[in-house]
């Protein structure tokens, strides 16, 4: 399997017998291979129904859904489903089976031999960040986050080209949800599955989606676009309302710190003269010099008191807080600044060396520049994950 498949919705309609209006109306869009397509919308908009039509958990009334060019209607449902990863909000682990048995569910249906299953299970647990020793536990013995990871591992078991995920992180607390989202994106960076991801949370949609299908009541597609397009140019009032008044802020979740123009940091090293340090600071937007070690890692901001001495000496206890990772998204970086109650903070590269300084001012200028200035480079954000 493995190679991702394109997914095409072609005038898909679902109407229940006796119902006046369809639950899905003429849904048409394509998901390119290897991309995450998020179906998002208010409850009752049919997003879950649309997803469940892909693996024929819900029958199509008219129109067609094609995976890699083949209509799902041409495949026996059970066989079709074994080739599509399936993750649901309540996870749906089998309580009577161990973690390893749960993960092995589909390989067993396909009749893999024992040793191949054992190897694959170990590989999958590691892939989703679970201790292989958990393989012999029962689901009741796991935390919510661990269960969800097992659910993802189980869905990936036979390396399906397409994954369906229905609010997979919806039942997880916010902190762990964030972590699971990031882990999944990192995983997706390696695996490049075609994913249909259902959520009612627009923030999650913007974060997870390469493309977002906004649906509205009656199962109609309101807009199908990349997250950046959706935020910059909502198709109509409904989408604008759904995306929210804070869509400018939401764009911060699409930009990484290293994507913006940082302030130049007035770097000084131990042993420099304070006079030159003062001069350096005067040239910069930052009022105080930043002391770094020989590898360029930040040691601390120098205070007036430090500058009163003739020579720069390492301060005892002023490791700068916070230090911002260049790979963070701007929204998280801004949150860190605000939380620390500071106007600016050093930004470091993965090795810990200072790249520059991020300030609240930079972010607010960016927001003030509005939709015209920064066409949010969502592809760039995704690439390095």
């Amino acid at each position: 399997m493995s190679a991702p498949a394109t997914l095409e919705f072609d005038s898909v309609t679902k109407r229940y017998p006796g119902a006046a209006t369809p639950v899905i109306a003429d849904l048409t869009f394509d998901v390119p291979a290897g991309e995450i397509c998020v179906l998002v919308g208010p409850s009752g908009c049919g997003k879950t129904t649309a997803m469940r039509m892909v693996n024929r958990m819900v029958d199509i009334t008219s129109g067609d859904i094609r995976i890699g060019g083949t209509s799902v209607r041409d495949r026996p449902p059970a066989q079709l489903r074994r080739e599509i990863g399936y993750v649901i909000q309540q996870v749906g682990l089998f309580p009577h089976q161990t973690v390893a048995e749960n993960v092995a569910a589909v390989p067993r249906l396909l009749g893999w031999d024992r040793s191949r299953i054992r190897t694959r299970v170990a590989e999958l647990l590691e892939l989703v960040g679970l201790d292989p020793a958990l393989g012999s536990r029962y689901p009741a013995q796991l935390s919510g986050g661990q269960r969800q990871r097992v659910g993802v591992a189980r869905a990936l078991a036979v390396d399906p080209p397409l994954m369906l995920m229905d609010e997979p992180f919806g039942a997880i607390d916010p902190i762990n949800r964030e972590r699971l989202q990031n882990e999944f994106l990192r995983l997706q960076g390696r695996l490049r599955k075609t994913v249909v991801f259902v959520t009612h949370d627009i923030d999650e949609a913007i974060k997870m989606g390469d493309r977002i299908a906004v649906m509205q009541t009656g199962g109609r597609l309101a807009q199908y676009a990349t997250p950046a397009e959706l935020l910059v140019a909502p198709a109509d009032e409904f989408v604008e309302d759904f995306v929210g008044a804070d869509r400018a802020l939401k764009r911060l979740a699409l930009l990484r710190v290293r994507d913006v123009d940082l302030w130049r940091a007035p770097l000084v090293r131990a042993g420099d003269s304070t006079a030159s340090a003062r001069a350096r600071a005067a040239e910069s937007e930052v009022p105080y010099p930043l002391l770094v070690d020989t590898d360029g890692r930040p040691l601390g901001w120098l205070s007036e008191r430090d500058l009163a001495r003739p020579i720069v000496t390492p301060p005892a206890d002023s490791a700068p807080d916070p230090i911002i990772d260049a790979d963070d998204v701007l929204r998280d970086a801004l949150a860190e600044l605000l939380q620390a109650g500071t106007q600016y903070a050093p930004v470091v590269d993965p090795r810990g060396a200072v790249l520059g300084v991020l300030s609240v001012e930079i972010v607010s200028d960016l927001l003030a520049a509005g939709s015209t200035a920064q066409e949010a480079p969502s592809d760039r954000v995704r690439d390095d994950r």
Partner: protein, 241 residues
């Protein structure tokens, strides 16, 4: 009827030092020890009747439950019919069946099996109903066929309720089987009624019935423990948390 009278005839009560105790229909440990072996065959008949009846009842009730699980409208009618079977007086059934199936184990087994159906059917259906719907949805979404769903997901998860039903059925069947001698199938009931005034006899036969009921119950409980290790894991975790 003559055969019945013959069964009820006072039997030889043995002899020896306890003769007076026995003559007075008392509780005589010595007599009991000497005469235990006469209960072995009725006990064996009793085990046979109870176990076979519950086993047959289970097979039938399971088949009905699987049928009704896919077609919900069947639940009502099946509960109705098995409910009528359950309320029929067993002695009447024994006699009603005799012209058709004759006297013997078969007649008794048919009646006893019929009695287990209501309890077993309702418990198996309840077991299927209690299977977490998210596990069923996930299984279907991963490509389990109806049959794979039944054997690999629904049945294992319904084991606690099914065993609960089996335990009730087994205990009541052991009790009801004491009447099986009316159908000519023997069992411990025959011994009890043969010398119903003799305390030693009634106590021994009665205790054997009780022991059999408890033994079956314990076996079923152990069986459930073996089949559902996941339940204990979950409980242990809930306690330590």
């Amino acid at each position: 009827m003559t055969a019945l009278v013959a069964q009820l005839q006072i039997q030889d009560r043995g002899s020896g030092s306890e003769q007076s105790c026995v003559a007075n229909d008392g509780f005589c440990p010595g007599w009991i020890v000497d005469n235990l072996d006469r209960y072995l065959h009725p006990l064996w008949q009793h085990v046979y009747l109870s176990v076979i009846a519950v086993a047959c009842g289970f097979v039938i009730a399971f088949a009905l439950a699987v049928l009704a699980h896919r077609r919900r409208w069947l639940v009502g009618p099946i509960v109705g019919v098995t409910g009528v079977l359950y309320t029929l007086p067993s002695i009447a059934v024994f006699f009603l069946l005799q012209p058709i199936t004759g006297r013997g184990a078969l007649t008794a087994l048919i009646a006893l099996t019929a009695y287990t159906l209501l309890i077993l059917f309702r418990n198996i259906v309840a077991g299927f109903d209690n299977v977490p719907s998210d596990a069923v949805d996930a299984a279907r979404g991963m490509g389990f066929t109806d049959r794979q769903m039944l054997w690999r997901v629904e049945l294992p998860l319904a084991v606690p309720e099914i065993v609960a039903g089996l335990r009730i059925a087994a205990t009541t069947t052991v009790g009801l089987a004491t009447l099986a001698f009316f159908a000519g199938a023997g069992g411990l009931g025959g011994e009890i009624f043969a010398q119903i005034t003799f305390k030693s006899n009634v106590v021994v036969a009665g205790l054997l019935c009780l022991a059999l009921a408890i033994a079956l119950d314990v076996l079923l409980l152990l069986g459930q423990r073996l089949l559902t290790p996941w339940r204990r894991a979950g409980i242990a975790e809930a306690i330590t948390r």
